[in-house]
């Protein structure tokens, strides 16, 4: 039988895969895709509890999360393009303009 715990375990595993991608990869486009995976994990949690409680508010908030993810992708990819135009790299280990 599928309980909410199953959905939360799936969501936790997807979240951790996204966090591992953020921490281990050096390609900033892949890091942005990992952030999308993290937001999807959050959405799975919201929809699972919406189903469990038979309450539509979870799905409404999942729609808001999708809107924020779209805004984040647009602005983030704009930043990547602007940075690539200046430094000719998308490696985050070379993105240290503001560190020293």
């Amino acid at each position: 039988m599928i309980t909410p715990t199953h959905y939360m375990l799936l969501s936790a595993a997807l979240f951790i895969i996204g966090v591992a991608g953020v921490m281990m990869r050096r390609n900033i486009i892949v890091i942005f895709m990992s952030i999308e995976l993290i937001l999807n994990a959050v959405n799975i949690n919201l929809v699972a509890f919406s189903y469990q409680l038979q309450n539509g508010i979870g799905q409404v908030f999942a729609i808001f999360v999708i809107a924020v993810a779209a805004a984040e992708a647009a602005v983030g990819l704009g930043i990547i393009l602007a940075f690539y135009r200046n430094k000719e790299t998308i490696n985050i280990d070379e993105m240290n303009l503001m560190r020293w």
């Binding site: 486009i29 990992s34 999308e36 919406s50 469990q52 729609i63 779209a70 992708a73 602005v75």
Partner: protein, 171 residues
């Protein structure tokens, strides 16, 4: 029984494609695996009787955001692969170990913490939320959550203006 089989198959697809997204060397292949991952998540939403959200997931994520990623991958000229320069102070294994620890922690909390252990999610199959999904979501979105909805639309407008300003060569 059928719900369990569908859940395990879709979960395996979601987690497998997610691992491929973060582990593939080629960025274009990672974007394509991301599409498959989003489609599997949409299938999970259908399993959870959130049909409207499944359609939104396919349209916005698999249709819009992924095309944006593909555009950026094509615009950024990857003559020098981004993974060949590594900072000397980078500790990749430490991130992996920390992720494993956090996953074990979350799993332990969920399994032994008794969160929703007694309840069974297949109890309410043909409820009002499942049958009139779009109507219920629309009533919530445009009546109870009207102000957050407008704030989200303002956020999208600001993000659009910001993206244009950031990507423009000179103002």
């Amino acid at each position: 029984m059928g719900e369990a089989i569908a859940f395990y198959v879709i979960s395996a697809l979601i987690l497998g494609f997610a691992v491929l997204v973060v582990s593939t060397r080629s960025t274009v292949h990672a974007v394509l695996f991301l599409v498959l991952n989003f489609l599997a998540v949409a299938a999970l939403y259908v399993l959870l009787t959130a049909q409207f959200l499944a359609v939104i997931q396919v349209l916005v994520y698999a249709g819009g955001i992924v095309v944006l990623y593909l555009f950026v991958v094509m615009l950024v000229n990857l003559k020098r692969p981004p993974e060949d320069h590594s900072a000397p102070q980078r500790r990749g294994w430490l991130g992996f170990a920390l992720s494993g620890v956090v996953l074990a922690q979350l799993a332990a909390i969920l399994v032994w913490g008794g969160v929703g252990a007694a309840t069974d999610s297949s109890a309410a199959q043909s409820s009002d939320l499942a049958l009139n999904n779009v109507e219920r979501i629309g009533m919530l979105l445009y009546a109870d959550y009207l102000i957050p909805f407008e704030v989200a639309s303002m956020l999208l407008l600001v993000a659009m203006v910001g993206a244009i300003i950031l990507a423009k060569r000179e103002l």
